[in-house]
Amino acid sequence: MTNISIRIWLVPLALLAIAIALPFVVPKYYVQFASKALLLGMLAMALNLVVGYGGLVSLCHGAFFGIGGYALAMVTPKYDPVSLWWSFPFAVALAGFAALIIGALALRTRGVYFIMVTLAFGEMLFFLFHDNQFAGGSDGAYINNKPEIAIAGRVLLDLDKPLAFYFVVLACLVATIALLTMLVRSPFGHALAAARDNERRARSLGFPIFRLRLIAFVISGAIAGVAGYFSAAQFGFIAPQTLGWHVSATVLVMVLIGGLRSVVGPLVGALVLLGLEEVLKASTEYWKLAEGLIVIAIVLFLPNGVRHLLTAALGERKDESPQDVKAVAKVEHA
């Protein structure tokens, strides 16, 4: 291992060590808060595969998130826990299936149409769960027992304990980061980005753009379902509002805060936004007003996310990331 590759691995490993040590030093409330934040970060990272790398602004990821949760709620019996081994794949597959159907229709459109169509289909799912009684209707559905991780009747991990739950979430998060990193560095990821930067050229080079985008959309929806499954398990409750587009838009804000051109940026964005919400909620009754103004300010003054704040504070970074180089190359080319 060369010097450089050690340096590249050092920061993530240090952060992972902090994440592992965290629940042993902070109070229980913050362990639960951290689980919630990591799950929303997972959702934001999933969304960014479509928004940042695919160039498609989707406003229905809240719906996939919610479907993951509803799937768990519907298969959990009233008095017993459900086995994670089959309920988890079921929830993820259901979210992925919804993404497949919505994606196949929405991807027939471009740009602003895509935004409106995803928004509308997301709301359709909201109404489906809100107006029908099969999953509790407008009252939402309760999950009385967290899913069980057991082999041959022996419980391996008790998700009722916040600590165990946190580590399961953390493991899922690391797996998500690994999967997304692999994806965006693979030929698939490069083709997806090529279609984002210049659709016509990518098409004339022979890339099956519709299929590439649909695959990205389905993967992204499925990961959103993973986050939704655990989020519903954590709170023991899922409401139709979870599917609504306010959730989707809030997650988009996280993506923007974290920056569009990195895999873990949206996770940072989620932590920043949730931390901000905690502070605002504690300090003012009108925290939504403040949050709205902050969102507007971020859009107007920090179009490239908080990373630019860091750059502005610490000075220009010497080693440009490959994406930046590509962006420069693109500008020169144009």
């Binding site: 149409y113 709205g292 969102v295």
Partner: protein, 290 residues
């Protein structure tokens, strides 16, 4: 269903569709000219209804509420364009979506501060409170009929302005090819500002005219925003005629869907949208590229 009931439902569909048209044409106009997708459009519909409630409660006059609400929305629209929206021209859709989402959070909180979050109702204006007897046991509200007539008149006025005046010509040219229109010497700074303010005022107007027939509640803007989007997707962006077709289609689908298929009525309009997407991805009257 006998003929009279059918007629009543048809009138309901027409009234619903016309209000939808009023709001959605504001949205499509703003997108067509400014190239900005404004998620806060529904919030102005909601604010319009609350303004109608607030002004009518304070002055006792629905007409004052109508004029005052539209005027306030127009001025707020001018201000917002000047402060926020004009910084969005040429920015990507993501920035536009998120800035208008921020505006929704702010406007919701403003509504909370001014009117609270209670559900209200507004009395129809004097002389419009009664009903017309259609058959022995069927009647129709005068105010609902008045909404139909008013919205038809508004639609006619919009079509006249867009198709027959110089302003309309600039607006159409801008929707067709903004760069070329600018190259021909049309300054869009002023046009943009007034188009945005008019679009916002139309959303608020929609909220004001429905306030006597539907309840005024905080979530009304969200549902209207989604419906307006579906209208625009159905009709094609930037096309007023398309918005009219889309709005009437949704009015008919929703009203008769509730009558014939009550269990799935809430998702019927989305099925309609999916069908149109399969048939014409850019809307019924949409051009090929956006």
């Amino acid at each position: 269903m006998d003929l009279a009931t059918f007629g009543v439902q048809l009138l309901n569909a027409l009234q619903y569709g016309m209000v939808l048209f009023l709001v959605a044409s504001g949205l499509t106009l703003v997108f067509g000219i400014l190239g900005v997708i404004n998620l806060a459009h529904g919030a102005f519909y909601m604010l319009g209804a609350y303004l109608a409630y607030g002004i009518a409660a304070a002055t006792g006059s629905f007409w004052l509420a109508l004029i005052g609400g539209v005027a306030i929305a127009f001025v707020v629209g001018l201000l917002l364009e000047n402060v926020f929206i004009k910084r969005l021209y040429g920015r990507d859709h993501l920035a536009q979506v998120l800035l208008s989402f921020g505006l929704i959070l702010v406007l919701d909180e403003v509504r909370q501060l001014l009117f609270g979050k209670d559900v209200h109702s507004v009395a129809p204006p004097q002389g419009f409170g009664g009903t017309i007897q259609l058959t022995d046991n069927l009647s129709y509200s005068v105010y609902r009929l008045a909404i139909c007539v008013f919205c038809l008149a508004m639609a006619a006025a919009i079509f006249y302005v867009i198709q027959r005046t110089k302003i309309g010509m600039i607006v159409r040219a801008g929707a067709e090819n903004r760069e070329m229109t600018r190259a021909l010497g049309i300054s869009f700074d002023t046009v943009n500002r007034y188009v945005f303010a008019v679009g916002i005022a139309m959303a608020a107007l929609g909220g004001i005219v429905v306030s006597p027939v539907s309840t005024v509640f905080p979530g009304m803007g969200d549902s209207m925003l989604i419906l307006s989007f579906v209208v625009v997707v159905l009709g094609g962006i930037g096309s007023i005629t398309g918005a009219a077709i889309g709005a009437l289609l949704i009015g008919l689908t929703d009203t008769f869907g509730k009558v014939f298929f009550p269990s799935v009525s809430s998702i019927l309009i989305y099925v309609l949208m999916a069908a149109v997407l399969l048939w014409r991805p850019n809307g019924i009257l949409g051009r090929r590229e956006v």
